[in-house]
């Protein structure tokens, strides 16, 4: 059976529903020898800011049970170098390019996006209002529903391309934020960025990360991410990129079933660079062997009564 894997967001068609997540695939040209990006639905770039950022001092990584903490601190080459050095390569790919933007002021978000708009080869934007590893911007935006709405409202008029807001799970009701950005004109939300976490070296009695706390990712967070996507899907009618601990096609399908219209593979790229392509193939295979001719029909098709869940009363 031929299975339709593509889908549309705004005016853009994506060839399948598996993307690589921001910060876990560089700018696309670092690991294209180990995985063929042209087999992906899209690449989300490392977060870009106006100026290059050095990132946080070492130590930036700590492994935890089935997960990892990172405190990269948005180390990135800056939007100008990106345009000059990375975009030409990305333009040669036939997959879609979503540029992720991070900033420490509303104006900076606008400036970066406006500059990128003047260049070809970009198919959409993902706005990171949820990085837990920088003190300005990041969580102080992402946990404030008014700031999140304001950023979306200010960016919306600047582009006709898909505008995706990447939300933080570190809030009581993520759906409240999804609703706000939908009302402000966003085309989709990405759920979830990392969870605030911490690890301690008991030998030295110091935190394992230079910034004390960091962002938790990997298989450990998958159950939380699924519940967040389910919460948003049940409360707000907006396309969702499901993210969090995806390592296999089955994991990705779980996200589709609870309501994600596409998924992003993050930490797994570090462990198994070929995984994202295998996941895309695995989803098509699952649909095919279940007699489903369009992966889109899986989206939100979980047989579940939200009334059975605590989310019912809690939302």
């Amino acid at each position: 059976m031929t299975v339709k894997t593509s889908f549309m967001l705004r005016h853009v068609e994506f060839q399948n529903r598996v993307f690589v997540a921001s910060g876990t695939f560089g700018y696309g040209d670092e690991i294209n020898d180990l995985v063929d990006p042209n087999k992906l639905g899209g690449i989300v770039t490392k977060s870009l800011s106006w100026k290059p950022r050095d990132g946080n001092p070492p130590r930036r990584i700590a492994e935890t049970p089935s997960g990892m903490l990172n405190s990269i601190g948005l180390a990135n080459i800056g939007v100008h170098t990106f345009i000059e050095k990375k975009l030409p390569f990305l333009r040669t790919l036939k997959t879609r390019i979503i540029v992720n933007i991070a900033a420490s002021s509303v104006q900076e978000y606008c400036d970066v996006l406006a500059l990128l708009e003047r260049h070809d080869g970009i198919h959409g934007y993902e706005i990171n209002v949820s990085c837990p590893n920088v003190k300005e911007g990041g969580l102080s935006f992402g946990t404030n529903v008014d700031r999140t709405r304001e950023i979306t409202e200010r960016l919306r008029p600047l582009t006709e391309k898909p505008l995706i807001i990447k939300l933080t799970p570190n809030v009581t009701h993520m759906s409240e934020f999804a609703r706000a950005v939908k009302d402000a004109g966003a085309d989709a939300v990405s759920c979830i960025n990392t969870l605030v976490g911490m690890a301690v070296d008991v030998r030295t009695r110091t935190p394992r990360l230079s910034t004390v706390t960091g962002g938790l990712s990997g298989p450990a967070i998958k159950p939380i991410a699924l519940a967040k996507v389910f919460e948003v899907a049940k409360s707000v009618d907006i396309p969702i990129f499901g993210i969090g601990g995806i390592t296999t096609a089955d994991d990705a399908i779980e996200f589709l079933l609870v309501g994600a219209c596409a998924v992003q593979v993050g930490t797994t790229n570090f462990v198994d660079p070929g995984a994202s392509v295998r996941i895309a193939e695995g989803i098509a295979g699952y649909a095919s062997s279940n007699g489903i001719d369009d992966v889109g029909k899986l989206v939100g098709s979980l047989k579940a009564d939200v009334k059975a869940s605590v989310l019912q009363t809690w939302l």
């Binding site: 560089g26 670092e30 690991i31 070492p58 990269i72 462990v271 660079p273």
Partner: protein, 257 residues
């Protein structure tokens, strides 16, 4: 530089010193391409997610299609490796990183290893000797039983407890060696805990020797995409270099450790 994610096959596992193992893997693609100082990122499981991340190990030696890893058991990952048996499959990503620079005009290579920092030296020494360099190998460990001098004949040994060779650290032994011998156009190659490397770097600066370090550090990806392995640069420009792709070998002048 060409890299592979590929399955290798365990040929043998041998305990060559107390708690220190050499794992020999058959892996033609990677064996063929590896140069001294490069490493492989090794997956620590197959089906499940614990431990999640790959672990970096220097390629210790290459012979035909086979490569050797030298490691000591410290945590879950290395314990996993120490239970591999002939015929088991091990997922490798490599070769990774920038090799040692052995084409400079030095004549004598001084190899300084602290503990399992010795790992990359068998391959490095063989390459240096092929290139016609004179090699002096200095190995340090807490105790004599932990000296892993396989494939490193005539190495000078230093032990913290004095149970074998020189009584003191490998850096002390280095100073003694330099003081006692006239060493022609030397270059240091050092590998070991970062504490040791920063002492070596300082010594090299003081006596004006060229010095290359192989750094350790936590890695998530090993291939330059996570930005998780910064080391501070001492030159203008970017504040940090990445240990995995700009290193793990660095000239001691170029980094602050």
């Amino acid at each position: 530089m060409k890299r592979f994610q590929t399955m290798s096959v365990v040929i043998s596992l041998e305990e060559i010193a107390e708690g220190i193992y050499v794992l020999t893997l058959e892996c033609p693609e990677i064996a063929k391409l590896t140069e001294p100082g490069q490493f492989v990122n090794v997956r620590m499981h197959d089906a499940h997610s614990e431990p999640l991340l790959r672990r970096p190990f220097s390629v210790s030696f290459v012979e035909g299609d086979r490569l050797e890893l030298l490691f000591n058991v410290i945590g879950t990952g290395t314990r996993f490796l120490s239970t591999r048996r002939p015929g088991d499959a091990v997922d490798l990503l490599g070769p990774l990183g920038v090799p040692f620079h052995i084409d400079d005009t030095f004549e004598t290579a001084l190899l300084l290893a602290g503990g399992v920092g010795v790992a990359p030296f068998p391959m490095l020494r063989a390459a240096l000797e092929r290139a016609g360099k004179k090699v002096i190998t200095l190995l340090g460990a807490r105790s004599g039983v932990q000296i892993a001098d396989r494939r490193l004949n005539n190495a000078y040994v230093a032990t913290d407890d004095g149970s074998r060779g020189f009584h003191g650290s490998v850096v002390d032994l280095f100073h003694a060696t330099v003081a006692r011998n006239a060493i022609l156009r030397p270059k240091i190659f050092a590998c070991g805990p970062n504490r040791m490397l920063s002492v070596v770097a300082a010594a090299a600066r003081t006596i004006g020797m060229d010095c290359e370090l192989s750094l350790e550090g936590e890695m998530a990806c090993g291939i330059g995409i996570c930005q998780g392995c910064p080391v501070e640069r001492s030159r203008e420009g970017r504040k940090y270099a990445l240990v995995c792709t700009d290193g793990p070998t660095f000239n001691s002048r170029d980094v602050v450790i």
